[in-house]
Amino acid sequence: MSLARFPRLQRAGAWAAPLRAAAAGAATPSLKKLAGRWLLRLASLLVFTAAWQYASSTRLHLGFVTFANVPSPADVFSSFVTLAGSGKLLPHLGSSLARVFLGYALAAVVGVALGLAIARARLAEDLLMPPLELLRPIPAVAWIPLAILMFPSAEASMVFITFIGALFPILLNAILGVAGIDSRLIASARSLGAKDRDILFEVVIPGAAPSILTGLAIGMGTSWFCLVTAEMISGQFGVGYYTWEAYTLQNYADIVVGMLVIGVLGMSSSAAVRQIGRALTPWQAPN
């Protein structure tokens, strides 16, 4: 049950460590070092933005790639302010968030439940695994045409794509998590009087939790990815649709606004999942 099995979580933990230490108000000599590291990170962002500003304002041409049509950070910022002031931002954000959370929540429930069943019951494994193995290698994006045919509304088909995108990482990590539980823990629980139900709630679910949470974090990323693609194809609202519309209308600054909004949304949802995961698995605290 070591963190080494979950390099993603481990790395995320390491990255957030200075934040946590600072939040705890650790008045230690390392505070100065921490401030230094944050300054460095801020400087990195500033340099990146300045380079972008330079490349776009001088219409930098590097042979095979050109910045001639790339809006500058300043243009992007003013477009963002316009969008925010227009009252259109919230509907776009709202539709995207609603789709992702509906599809993702369904995938979390279905993925974890199926994963537990498949890993614990041979009958469930034999009945469910063959079709799932067949569907698994199909990228969620390849489902878009069929989804449009299958569902009555574009809305439902986009939620479905988001669901498919998140389902497999969640399902597979749940199966792996259960399979990775030391059989001696289950044996010990039985020797202490645990019945099947207790084994499920007291051993299997907490034992698989770290792996399930890894799956949920990965699934959050894939469901955003799938949603944005689906919105570009069939949406009428949403940040993916907004980005694609900006391209078709040749509002180049708005393209980048859409991209950055997608980035921030994806990043914050993943961070939220990790944060919830950390709160749910306190025994994994790196102390």
């Binding site: 001696r184 823990l185 010990s188 202490l192």
Partner: protein, 273 residues
């Protein structure tokens, strides 16, 4: 009347284990063949034998982890049909629930029996005191040393007052100093709580220091090769090792183990130069 006789005479004495004619095989490969073994109530029995001879299999049969269609295993007259709280199990690998605090680990048994949360926690706290770990109740197991984790494991098993405590090389992963301390602790708990103990080890000194009886298994498939009553008086201090009776018993065990290990080795196609 010696302590053992007194222990056996206790009216409430529990923990009689009877293994009769037990054969277990894995994929057609025999691990145990017609094993007969009896543990009297309150008795401390150590199983010794070359590695792979079926000691763990015998223990797991009593615990109810392996099916035993051939032969019978009973504990206090009840046939073993599966794992249960009347038989406690302690593995070498500690096997504490990593997601539960030390206190919650120990409280697990009472909670499974339906005890109220507060009551289970109170009993758990008491048992942690018993193994000298009252101070780490709220820590997670991963933050404890191996010896401390194993003491938690023992407390967790004993809180159910099992008739028999099954221990599979419980101190095998600990350093020598910790092991000595753990042996003392175990003997003290056994004295206070009672019940019988079936203890697997590959350390002859450990077996002779702990056991009322040492049972030596043959090379696989395991049969009883030697059933040796350890006549040394208790408590057995460090200098028991100097006792001629101890030395004789040790010599006898080591000779047989060496002979069996050699047989096992040769049977696997190995040859001594």
């Amino acid at each position: 009347m010696d302590i053992q006789a007194m222990r056996r005479a206790r009216p409430s004495a529990r923990g009689r284990v009877e293994i009769r004619d037990l054969s277990v095989s894995y994929d057609g490969h025999a691990a145990l063949e017609r094993l007969h073994l009896t543990v009297e109530p309150g008795e401390f029995v150590c199983l010794l034998g070359p590695s792979g001879c079926g000691k763990s299999t015998a223990l797991n049969a009593v615990a109810g982890f392996v099916r035993t269609p051939e032969g019978s295993v009973t504990v206090d007259g009840e046939p073993v049909l599966g794992p249960g709280a009347d038989r406690g199990m302690v593995f070498q690998q500690y096997s504490l629930f990593p997601w539960k605090t030390v206190l919650e680990n120990v409280a697990f048994g009472p909670r499974m029996k339906g005890a109220a949360r507060a009551e289970a926690r109170r009993a758990a706290r008491e048992h942690l005191e018993l193994v000298g770990l009252g101070g780490v109740a709220d820590k997670y197991p991963a933050t404890l040393s191996g010896g401390m984790q194993q003491r938690v494991g023992i407390a967790r098993a004993l809180i159910n007052r099992p008739g028999v405590l099954l221990m599979d090389e419980p101190f095998g992963a600990l350093d020598a100093q910790t092991r000595g301390f753990m042996q003392e602790t175990l003997l003290r708990l056994w004295d206070e709580i009672g019940g019988s103990i079936l203890f697997v080890t590959h350390d002859v000194d450990e077996a002779l220091l702990l056991a009322d009886r040492v049972i030596l298994f043959s090379a696989a498939p395991g049969r009883v090769l030697l059933d040796l009553a350890v006549a040394l008086p208790r408590p057995r201090p460090e200098d028991s090792f100097a006792d001629p009776a101890f030395a004789d018993a040790k010599k006898q065990c080591l000779r047989l183990i060496r002979q069996e290990s050699r047989r096992a080795f040769e049977r696997q196609g190995g040859q001594f130069a």
